[in-house]
Subunit: 323 residues, 2 copies
């Protein structure tokens, strides 16, 4: 990395969780961060920021995008999110951009298996039986996870956390990545060129891919038609991966049993959107792997120590590659 003069660097926090982030940074075991990078601005309002004073920025990317083009002295922006499409789309790229990684997997594995098991144990039917008058005592069709195959689109860092859980339920795992390079824990990793062969293997699919030109619309009609019947789709990557008309067709013809959607092209999802009202769609409001301010502060402090020592930062984005 290029070296910066960090002796006069200060910290600007621009985030909906600004106060909580300030609290956890000051409470961090490494006091050198708070003393060497004094917090000079701390707000959730982009208009309140003095852009000349911004050298190190800890920020929600959808707020940061409103000020970064004017931040002439920006050295490093630590994003509070995993994905950073808004910032990667800007022309300005003369600073270091880092994201949050490492803490999402532990949340994501609970999200994914909560929803897979919700359907495998047919909880909705038991709930409906109980709500009837008189209530209905009745078994229901189960489709146990054991022996089934879980497919992961975007078999990267976050997906690794799914492997031991899937194994503990005796599920098989297949993955899809750009390169198709094989990885431990997967029966097979397919490349993007093998999308249909990948889809045909999947009793359930989790999309964890970031928003890049190559992933937009990848969950299209061809993909859905290649799935086995009654598959489950979980989208916790980015909304842009899904072709909406193809998803609705797959649900309506029974190819998909259910879709659990966490991310959307427009967030919050507009209240008149079809997805809200579809009986086989569950909406979880971009919370699948929502990191806590404490988690974000911890990643920031670890990176800040590296920054102050002129060491390479963790979780850097490459403006040229777009991820």
């Amino acid at each position: 990395m290029s070296e910066f003069d960090t002796s006069n660097s200060t910290l600007t926090i621009l985030s909906r969780d600004a106060k909580a982030l300030e609290h956890w940074i000051n409470a961090h075991e490494s006091h050198s961060v708070a003393s060497s990078l004094p917090i000079v601005q701390c707000t959730d309002n982009p208009n309140a920021i003095d852009k000349q004073r911004v050298s190190v920025l800890l920020s929600d990317p959808d707020l940061a995008v409103q000020i970064i083009p004017q931040c002439k002295n920006l050295q490093w922006c630590q994003s509070t999110w995993a994905g950073n499409a808004p910032l990667l789309a800007l022309e300005k790229n003369d600073y270091q951009l880092t994201g949050i990684k490492g803490i999402f997997g532990k949340l994501m594995r609970e999200y994914v298996f909560a929803h897979l098991l919700y359907f495998s144990r047919n909880i909705p039917t038991f709930q409906a039986n109980q709500a009837q008058s008189p209530p209905v005592w009745c078994g229901s069709t189960r489709s146990p996870l054991i022996g089934k195959t879980l497919g992961v689109l975007g078999a990267g860092d976050i997906a690794k956390s799914l492997i031991p859980v899937a194994q503990s339920f005796d599920m098989k795992l297949v993955g899809l990545t750009r390169s198709g390079a094989q990885q431990a824990g997967y029966e097979r990793i397919y490349s993007v060129d093998e999308l249909e062969r990948f889809a045909s293997r999947c009793d359930a699919v989790v999309n964890l891919m970031p928003d890049t030109p190559g992933t937009r619309g990848i969950l299209n009609r061809v993909f859905f038609r290649a799935l086995p019947e009654n598959a489950i789709l979980i989208n916790a990557g980015r909304g842009s991966a899904i072709v909406e008309s193809a998803l609705l067709e797959a649900l309506d013809c029974g190819r998909l049993k259910a879709a659990i959607l966490d991310v959307f092209d427009i967030e919050p999802l507009p209240s008149n959107h079809t997805f809200w009202h579809h009986p086989n769609i569950m909406i979880t409001a971009h919370t699948a792997a929502e990191s806590s301010p404490e988690d974000v502060a911890s990643v920031f402090c670890t990176n800040a120590k590296r920054f102050l020592n002129n060491e390479p930062l963790m979780y850097q984005f490459d403006f040229a590659k777009g991820y």
Copy 2:
């Protein structure tokens, strides 16, 4: 085991799944069972049974209990259930009684974690948000499983299947057994004398204990009051373990966040029972580890080969101990 003359033994099937069991026994890889133990009676009706002809009986215990006192020539009864309280309560005990084990764990682990994750990810709140008009885009309080402690009452064979899953979510496990003997996979096993200390450790509790005099009413007011606040209870053992008034009190004062109940003193649970209508009780109609006829036939055939060779049977019950 005492030796039987098996040369004239025949098989009687008395079960709600009689036809399916017959199918899977005839389809079993070991043809010697079907040929050496010919099926002479196969019905779901106890009154249709010629009791004199019963030597080997494959039966649902609640049906078997209606004929076994009159079966003078009974050598062995293979129950289709894990628990056998109805048969253990009879005076007649001059035959071998075996249950089903080994296949429940793989179903039980999905049942237990489906419901733990349902609450850890707060699925009910997202469902309620989506059902509102207009729908509500909003996060919700999560209580991740990571770092939490799962307590297992009856840390035996079935409970073993929970260990790798709990570990894959970074949960801690504590257990409770009659003896309190330590076991691998548990931070600690408590004895029944240490019920309150056990309860105080548990963020969630699963009861898997069979119905014995020692386990009746063990989930009483003392137990519930020792739990941390907002605990989750899953009862997949026997209904008799629960003191109903104590459970309702624990739910209503917030000690328990929710109870997931699979088993009851009277089944089907009468439709006017309070449990059906409690907002924080989920009822699953004795399906937590419901074995398929194929699974039961497989256990029966394995045991039948042992029976024909005068080898000790697996999964025997001890009439003196009552389990």
